[in-house]
């Protein structure tokens, strides 16, 4: 099954244009086809399926031949040493890599069976379905209310009552409502780091995504704030598919259902997926000796 897709962000890499050179794959891949990693059973379905995914920044190959299926309504952790391309991988799933000048994608990324790098893919619609929470909390310098209402307003919601309702539901789901319900009109930047991060989660929830990508969401937070976010992840997976990049092995072990282990063999090599499996199995009984070496090394 060899085919090449090229996602390209316009001349010099703006957002928006995904270019397809070969369209064989879409027909071949149907929901229910064999999973990329044999031997794993998943109840429910797969949200994302990645085939032969390679990512380039200019001449440099960042990721090579990633084959992976991401289960629906589960938490999938992506772990690996720094520089192995975990964050770049995550940004392939909502095409945020398009913003990197000279970035190029080969292979296919299928969301519910549809290639998100196809030419006519609406990237803004894709990003509404696949929300993202960043490493550093990045609320807008607006009020708490306006931060959560940001997405709905972009979607054209004007009605005050509807907005109020969306803001409240989103803040409740992000476990922030009780702390901020009396100060919705206060600036978001006055909140603590952990609160800001939950506000960012509420902001994403307000556009009703299907998938939420977390890019090391706790790396700037203290242990208590981290714990709250982890608890929140577990609640959120009821409704959403979650992919979380983390450099913290314990966090992956605690909070995720499945884990993908990425590794970069030598300096300058592209990152590769070494092993993917149920989190419990991957940590206690890794199939690949590299996984074992790295994980035990970090736990020890």
């Amino acid at each position: 099954m060899v085919s090449t897709f090229t996602g390209r962000g316009g001349p010099g890499g703006g957002q928006g244009v995904g270019e397809r050179e070969n369209a064989v794959m879409e027909q071949e891949l149907e929901v229910g086809a064999e999973p990329a990693v044999p031997g794993i059973r998943v109840e429910g379905g797969y949200k994302f399926r990645l085939r032969n995914l390679s990512l380039y920044y200019g001449e440099r190959k960042i990721l090579e031949d990633i084959e992976l299926d991401i289960p629906e309504n589960r938490i999938t952790a992506v772990i690996g040493p720094s520089g192995c391309g975990k964050s770049s991988f995550l940004r392939c799933l909502n095409r945020m890599n398009d913003l990197v000048e000279g970035s190029r994608v080969e292979g296919g990324v299928f969301l519910d069976g549809e290639d998100i790098y196809r030419r006519d893919c609406d990237v803004t619609a894709l990003r509404r379905r696949v929300g993202m929470v960043f490493q550093k909390p990045n609320p807008f310098p607006k009020t708490i209310y306006e931060n959560v209402a940001f997405g709905p307003r972009i979607l054209g919601v004007r009605d005050r009552a509807t907005l109020d309702e969306v803001v409240e539901t989103s803040l409740r789901r992000a476990a922030l409502w009780d702390e901020v319900k009396d100060k919705l009109k206060e600036p978001a930047l006055a909140l603590s780091g952990g609160q800001q991060q939950r506000l960012c989660i509420a902001r994403v929830l307000a556009v009703e995504p299907e998938v939420i990508l977390f890019d090391e969401p706790c790396s700037a937070l203290d242990p208590i704030a981290t714990q709250r976010i982890e608890d929140l992840l577990v609640e959120l997976k009821e409704k959403y598919t979650i992919v979380i990049v983390t450099h913290n092995m314990q966090q992956a072990a605690r909070a995720s259902d499945y884990t993908a282990f990425f590794l970069i063999e030598r300096q300058g090599d592209p990152g590769r997926l070494v092993e993917f499996g149920e989190t419990g199995n991957l940590f206690t009984n890794p199939r690949d000796e590299r996984t074992e070496r790295d994980i035990t090394g970090r736990f020890g």
Partner: protein, 301 residues
């Protein structure tokens, strides 16, 4: 390794007595030039206020009707001309300058066009304002037939102020953290929605500061308006297509050709003091507004 050792021996050589003396001399020299600069500024301001403040602060002068032949005239039409001109110019130069800044920093991809626009702006800002004045007179006053008018002056001042407005707006836009752009795009914003909702609001304090400062420059500009707007009017100019007389042009007119008015010196220095006060207030405003807006947004100073 070798480089490091060379550096080390050099720094050791410099650390002798000579270096300490040079350091002290340099400190004194730098302190002296700073104090001199400050003294000059204060001296100029004090001299102007000394001459004219008494006149400038009397309402009958500010709101009074100008006299062409007799003494005791006021400057109200000039005051209105100056602010009218500032509003007209801003309404032209702000959209142009901010638009160009947004294009350069958010939309332009190719390096060549960006370099060309920058080069054009830099060249414009190096041109003396009197040249703009002559250009404005030839093109707007004569060729386009606008005559001596606020509109001709506003168009000329738009050209004159475009580079600085553009630069300050671009700086404001570029200082918006990328994390806001990422957040907006990841929410499914188009590029324009991102700029409108996440970049412009955050850049607004900076853009406002630039705008207030350019009001100061517009109100204070003389050479460019002498050739395009007019030197003296007796009635308040309500139409932008009528001749007017901004304060700066009128001051120049009074000093050079105003001898028909017996108290030309009183009028000119009063007007100069009033203009100076306005520019000072505008600069203070520019310094404080940005901070206030940023505070309201929740940035900790």
């Amino acid at each position: 390794m070798e480089n490091a050792s060379v550096l080390e021996s050099r720094s050791r050589r410099f650390a002798g007595k000579g270096a300490a003396l040079a350091d002290r001399l340099a400190t004194v020299a730098i302190w002296f030039s700073a104090m001199l600069a400050l003294a000059l500024v204060i001296g100029v301001i004090a001299a102007i206020l000394w001459q004219g403040l008494g006149t400038a602060l009397s309402p009958s002068f500010i709101f009074g009707k100008p006299e062409a032949m007799r003494e005791g005239g006021g400057i109200w039409p000039m005051v209105v001309s100056s602010f009218y001109l500032a509003v007209l110019t801003l309404s032209l130069v702000l959209p142009l300058g901010v638009g160009a800044a947004l294009y350069l920093s958010e939309f332009a991809r190719g390096g060549r066009i960006v370099r060309l626009v920058r080069f054009g702006a830099d060249s414009l800002s190096a041109v003396p304002s009197v040249v703009f004045g002559v250009f404005g007179m030839v093109v707007f006053v004569i060729y386009l037939g606008l005559g001596y008018s606020l509109m001709a002056g506003a168009l000329t001042l738009t050209l004159l102020n475009l580079p600085t407005v553009m630069r300050s707006a671009e700086e404001a836009v570029r200082s918006v953290p990328n994390s806001y752009r990422e957040a907006a795009l990841a929410m499914g914003c188009s590029r324009w929605e991102m700029v409108k909702k996440a970049v412009l609001p955050v850049a607004m304090p900076g853009i406002t500061t630039g705008a207030i400062l350019s009001v100061g420059r517009i109100v204070g500009e003389s050479a460019a308006v002498v050739y395009t707007v007019g030197l003296f009017v007796r009635k308040v100019p309500w139409s932008p297509f009528r001749p007017a007389a901004p304060m700066a042009a009128n001051i120049w007119h009074m000093y050079t050709e105003g001898a028909l008015v017996p108290d030309w010196f009183r009028v000119a220095s009063g007007e100069a003091a009033f203009l100076l006060l306005i520019v000072l207030v505008l600069n203070l405003l520019a310094r404080t507004t940005a901070g206030l807006v940023r505070k309201k947004m929740g940035y900790r100073a």
